[in-house]
Symmetry: C2
DNA sequence: CCTACCGATCGGTAGG
DNA sequence: CCTACCGATCGGTAGG
């Protein structure tokens, strides 16, 4: 008779205490708490409850862990923002920009550890420099959206679009510094707060207008 | 065919070409470019054009350089924000909050390297943890200002003050990621852009109202 | 301000 | 021969 009978799980033998994904998750968590360079593979091993050498059974290098996380963050952001920016019939650039903000917030919340790591990259290695290049391409895409929205007359014209883009997505990105997925602010509330402040402002509505 | 002559620098030989402040400035610059932990004292020595050991003639330790910069940033921010938050006769909480934003931007621009370093501290040492505590006290002060402005009816009431405070000053602080003191955005323009977006919003003014 | 070093720890790999 | 590890140690480099 077949010894392993696991209907819902992979038909692997000996139950691994840790798979590659678990190591990656723990690594990214540590990188975010202490900083990438301040985190040793020994730290990671201690956290996982195994030896440093054992980690290298699962992953090829420390840099690989970083690259994997950055790739996830960049892939998710690229996909979401590219989709949000796609023009649809009878839709303003303003709507596309709003959607891009909402989608960025969504990805940020859904992939908080990976995105947090991405936003802290300094370019200390070729892999990090590559990530910075991809990030800059995304930023350019977002700036273009702001430019379009200004051009169509949806946004105030007294501020340069690249400055607006930096501040708007600076506010969005600052979320990684405090957001707690288990806290009482969910992605919808956060998204509404950001778009509310950015597009309508904090000032209390005065007069009879909406 | 004259060798380099730098009128503003000391041409002395055998005498220290660097003082403690020059070492500190270069260190903070490197810490910001590469990250504190990724920067070795050898990196700093190379940048300064002297040996690693020679640095220890000027400063007691790597951590001391970090602490000095963090103290500068925290002292400046504390002073400026405390002053801005001080109630004055016939003044709304809204005015005080606006002034706090403007003063924070001013300190951020005037002491960009030190504040940048402060905003990246992760708490990896007692000195960093102390800096984080002081930073949290400042954040609480700012949140209190937002709370007062909401309470007096100056700000929209549909968003929790602590969330507003995080997003507002998240936008302010995000400036350190891109601001260039030699660029074409000066502190006034930046300050006006931030308060303009945060309080009035990005949406183009519509209708006949203000 | 340098040469000559230290205790420790780094990321990564050996054989079993 | 496989997986999931471990004890020991590699060559270099960290802050001091």
């Amino acid at each position: 008779m077949d010894p392993d009978r696991e209907p819902t799980e992979s038909p692997r033998r000996g139950r691994p205490g840790h798979d590659q994904d678990a190591v990656l998750r723990q690594a990214v968590d540590l990188f975010n708490r202490q900083g990438y360079d301040a985190t040793s593979m020994s730290d990671l091993a201690r956290e996982l409850g195994l030896t440093k050498s054992a980690i290298y059974h699962h992953v090829p290098s420390k840099g690989h862990l970083l690259s994997q996380a950055l790739e996830t963050a960049l892939d998710e952001l690229t996909t979401a923002i590219t989709r949000a920016a796609e023009p649809r019939p009878d839709e303003t650039a303003y709507t596309r920009l709003r959607r891009a903000v909402e989608q960025t917030v969504r990805i940020l919340v859904e992939h908080l550890p990976a995105v947090t790591l991405l936003l802290r990259v300094r370019g200390n290695s070729p892999a990090e420099q590559d990530a910075l290049r991809r990030r800059r391409a995304i930023d350019d895409q977002l700036t273009e959206l702001v430019r379009d929205a200004v051009a169509e007359g949806s946004l105030r014209t007294d501020l340069p679009p690249d400055l607006v883009s930096r501040l708007l997505f600076g506010m969005v990105n600052s979320t990684v510094e405090w957001y707690d997925p288990d806290g009482d602010v969910d992605a919808e509330v956060l998204s509404a707060a950001i778009t509310g402040i950015a597009f309508d402002g904090l000032a209390a509505a005065t007069g009879a207008g909406g």
